[in-house]
């Protein structure tokens, strides 16, 4: 366990200061065609301090955790803040706060498995895939575990300790058809440690059967027809839409940097079927994929309702940007590593479910696509987005037709959301989301299926 009680170091604070001790522990095992290609553990930790002086920030970090180093880190961060303040003289006001105290340790209560047992688990999966799916050209299984353990003390009185784990299993299958390789990967697992997510290998077998079926369909599939089509974005794509295309444009630092959302506050930006929320820690009484209780500035984290019934209501913020936009604090300050400063980051971003049934949504489309799984996504300050699509089917006369090969969809999110006509009544969180805004950070994304018009790449 990391250094938990940081109170004794407050004697070194001279300005507004955040002091954080953190360790990130990773396990990564990769098995390629039955061989162990990677088998590693990483533990990277240390201390950081961030200091604020009238609009100027200083930050410093060091991996050593003795008292003298911690004192030096606080002094170095203070000196850095004064360096900027003496030159820029911004004279900005004091930071607001919504302080709190919390302790959340999600270490598993189940007996821990050794790395050998994890490899044996992967071997069972690999044996099943190898024995069952004879047409495969290659198979890869990766297990990646991340435990993020943090202690925080702020000069305005917040204290927190947390241990937030996430475990992801990636299974990639490849087939060759007409001398061309086709690949499909699936992500399994989510919040919790290995033991919480992967009890019996057999539990994954039905999902692997589904994955293989979709891969074979894809290898025999068609190219999508380029242009704008009626589409159903399944939960995975609705989640990445919520995060990339809307979420980022409504982060307060991006808004201040010129995002189009700066002109849309309290205006209609989507069909009234759309409500979009960045959840702090719970959705309908259950823990979200990446729960956050107190953020890395010591703010009590609360749900941020960004779009309510189609109207843009709020930007996600940190203390600095809550001041700038004169908004309530949302608790969106997050940092990945001990050596990273907190930025405005999303937590668990999702479009809320509607009332339609997925089968009715498919039946309502004469000629279009059902897009089920994304690979990567990017968005712009204009809200123009692009998502890779690696699993999808055409819809012909209200029924699913042939699978489509890998493609890309794009559009202007605030225009596209106005074309939404149906939202399904279910809600699925994707389990392996990462966001790459300066620092790679686990995020939760989720949603129902939505029916909309979108530009699809193809031949």
């Amino acid at each position: 366990m990391i250094l938990k009680d940081l109170k004794k170091y407050s004697k070194y604070f001279t300005e507004y200061t955040e002091l954080r001790v953190q360790e990130n522990r990773n396990i990564r095992i990769s098995m390629v065609n039955g061989d162990i290609m990677g088998n590693s553990r990483t533990a990277i930790g240390g201390v950081s301090a961030r200091v604020y002086k009238e609009g100027a920030w200083g930050f410093a970090s060091n991996p050593e955790l003795d008292e003298e180093t911690i004192k030096q880190v606080i002094e170095s961060a203070t000196k850095n803040a004064l360096f900027i303040d003496s030159r820029e003289k911004m004279n900005k006001p004091e930071l607001p706060n919504k302080k709190g105290s919390s302790e959340n340790d999600f270490t598993t209560s189940i007996q821990k498995k050794s790395q050998k047992e994890m490899i044996e688990f992967m071997k069972k999966i690999d044996d099943y895939i190898k024995g069952k799916f004879k047409k495969l050209a290659s198979r890869t299984i990766v297990v990646s575990c991340l435990d993020m353990e943090k202690s925080l003390l702020t000069s305005d009185g917040s204290i927190s300790y947390s241990m937030i784990p996430r475990t992801i299993g990636y299974v990639t299958m490849t087939v060759e058809k007409d001398k061309q390789p086709y690949e499909l990967y699936e992500v399994y697992g989510g919040f919790g440690q290995f033991e919480d997510n992967f009890e019996n290998a057999e539990d994954l077998f039905p999902k692997l059967n589904e994955q293989y079926k979709h891969l074979i369909n894809k290898s025999e599939g068609i190219y999508a027809e380029a242009g704008i089509h009626d589409c159903i974005l399944d939960a995975d794509l609705a989640g990445i839409l919520a995060h990339e295309a809307i979420g980022h444009t409504t982060e307060a630092d991006i808004v201040k940097g010129g995002s189009v959302a700066g002109d849309f506050l309290n205006q209609k930006v989507a069909n009234e079927l759309i409500t979009l929320v960045d959840f702090a820690n719970h959705f309908e009484g259950k823990l979200c994929p990446v729960p956050l209780f107190i953020d890395d500035e010591g703010t009590l984290a609360e749900d941020a309702i960004i779009i309510e019934d189609g109207v843009l209501k709020k930007y996600m913020n940190t203390k600095e940007y809550a001041n700038h936009f004169q908004m309530d604090l949302t608790g969106n300050a997050r940092a990945y590593s001990f050596s990273d400063e907190p930025l405005v980051r999303m937590r668990n971003t999702a479009i809320l479910p509607g009332k339609s049934k997925l089968e009715d949504m498919i039946a309502s489309i004469e000629n279009g696509y059902y897009l089920m799984q994304s690979s990567n996504g990017q968005a712009d300050s204009t809200s123009e987005f692009m998502f890779g699509v690696v699993k999808g089917y055409e819809i012909k006369n209200g029924k699913l037709g042939k699978a489509i090969k890998d493609t890309t969809i794009s559009g202007i999110a605030f225009d596209m959301l106005k074309t939404v006509t149906m939202v399904s009544d279910d809600m699925v969180w994707s389990c392996g989301g990462f966001c790459g805004k300066k620092q790679m950070l686990p995020v939760g994304m989720g949603g129902p299926a939505i029916k909309c018009k979108v530009n699809i790449g193809g031949k």
């Binding site: 390629v32 990483t42 790395q115 630092d253």
Partner: protein, 430 residues
């Protein structure tokens, strides 16, 4: 303990714990970073980092641990865990460490930053940008100096030391006037000194100017199959995709489209691509590979012919194919014989692709994505900036269809690329 003592201690502990082969590397780094947010210099960071990686092989089974605490107790515990990991693994004869090579020390760049000069460079650049492009918002700038001191040893008596000082500037910007807004764009530039003004580094000024012109964008008139001119600023999307087929994973799994193409023609004969980690004109140069070899320069594609894969030691032993002399990166494309102006003039209809927002290419090379900060070309002239335009193609086919390569090139500090006109890409609008 000194760095060499730490790493030798780690190696000894691992060998005593039962490892038959050992590789240990230690990297200590110090970073000083000035940050701009929404046009204000508002953050100064000083961070120290340490990474000690221990790898042990016994009975052909491998385990690796990375920690950043360097006391003997932490190293003892890490060595014990390496042995446990290796014992938990499966034997694989491809697991190995590099063979004995002469010990060497390498050094490049300054050891200490000039913070006052960094600050004045940044102020000068912000003032220039404000005056030249008043509607362009410098959304974010990270301007840092990083000094790293690294050492790698293994039980075959390999010992390489290297230290390196490097300045990096990353500029991200958007132009906004009233409710009109451009797409954001960004540029990265690496340097070993502070001699140049920031505006004169790589593509920075050109891309700022383009951004200032991109407040009003238009759809292309019609879908077409034809010319796309890739700029140096988004060439990495193409080169990264192609070199991605040459590494360990696609060749071990056997799905690489180039698996049987060594010494065969895979691209137009106008294309020559090098990987030059020893080049002094690239600030991102390196001297030692992650698997313990002294790095060398290579030509990956020579006049269209594939001359090397990018296999590491493990990938090479696993596939039986030759190991690369480096780990890729530091890419340089030979210049062509047509000027940039001539390339534009000779284009009847096409796209000048300045940034590409695309999905990961498929295993067969298919890709698609959105043209950002880009322009429509007609009758030899750049007509207007475009929006909501998608480009679809296949990397394998694309590099066979090179029409022209420019005589001008841009050095970003981590690659040197020209402009290249490709044919046969599908361009579709709204």
């Amino acid at each position: 303990m000194k760095n060499i003592e730490i790493i030798q201690y780690a190696q000894d502990v691992l060998l005593k714990a039962g490892a038959e082969k050992v590789q240990c590397s230690l990297r200590k780094s110090e970073k000083h970073e000035l940050n701009v947010a929404a046009g204000e210099i508002n953050l100064f960071r000083t961070t120290f980092n340490t990474n000690l990686s221990l790898t042990g092989i016994l009975k052909n089974k491998k385990g690796s641990i990375t920690i950043n605490t360097l006391d003997k107790k932490s190293i003892d515990e890490a060595a014990k865990q390496v042995i446990e990991l290796a014992e938990s693994s499966k034997p694989d004869e491809a697991n190995d460490i590099s063979e004995k090579q002469p010990a060497k020390d390498f050094s490049s760049g300054p050891k200490k930053p000039d913070i006052d000069k960094m600050y004045s460079n940044l102020k000068e650049f912000m003032e220039y940008s404000k005056e030249a492009y008043p509607n362009t918002i410098l959304e974010g700038i990270n301007y840092d100096f990083t000094f790293s001191d690294s050492i790698l040893v293994n039980s075959n008596e390999v010992k390489f030391g290297s230290n390196k000082g490097l300045y990096t500037v990353v500029v991200m910007f958007t132009t906004k006037e009233g409710k009109k807004i451009s797409s954001f764009n960004y540029v990265v530039y690496l340097s070993k000194d502070l001699e140049k003004s920031i505006k004169d580094c790589g593509s920075i000024d050109r891309l700022l100017k383009q951004s200032s012109e991109q407040l009003e964008t238009f759809s292309i008139p019609e879908k077409f199959v034809g010319n796309v001119i890739i700029t140096p600023d988004c060439m990495d999307d193409i080169i990264g995709g192609v070199t991605g087929f040459l590494g360990d994973y696609p060749l071990i799994t056997g799905v690489s489209v180039y698996k049987d193409k060594l010494d065969k023609k895979i691209a137009d004969s106008k294309l020559t691509l090098h990987s030059k980690p020893l080049s002094e004109v690239l600030a991102s140069n390196y001297y030692v590979t992650y698997d313990g070899f002294e790095a060398g320069n290579s030509t990956i594609i020579n006049k269209g012919v594939l001359k090397t894969f990018l296999l590491g030691l493990y990938g090479s032993r696993k596939t039986g194919l030759p190991k690369a002399v480096n780990q890729g990166g530091c890419y340089i494309i030979d210049s062509g014989d047509t000027s940039y102006d001539e390339i534009i003039k000779s284009t009847e209809k096409g796209i000048l692709l300045c940034r590409f927002s695309g999905g990961n290419p498929s295993d067969n090379g298919d890709f698609s994505g959105v043209a950002k900060n880009s322009y429509y070309i007609e009758n030899g002239k750049i007509k207007y900036p475009i929006s909501e335009t998608m480009i679809n193609g296949n990397l394998v086919e694309m590099i066979k269809n090179i029409v022209q390569i420019s005589s001008e090139r841009v050095n970003s500090g981590y690659h040197i690329y020209p402009w290249i006109k490709f044919d046969g890409l599908t361009v579709s609008g709204k």
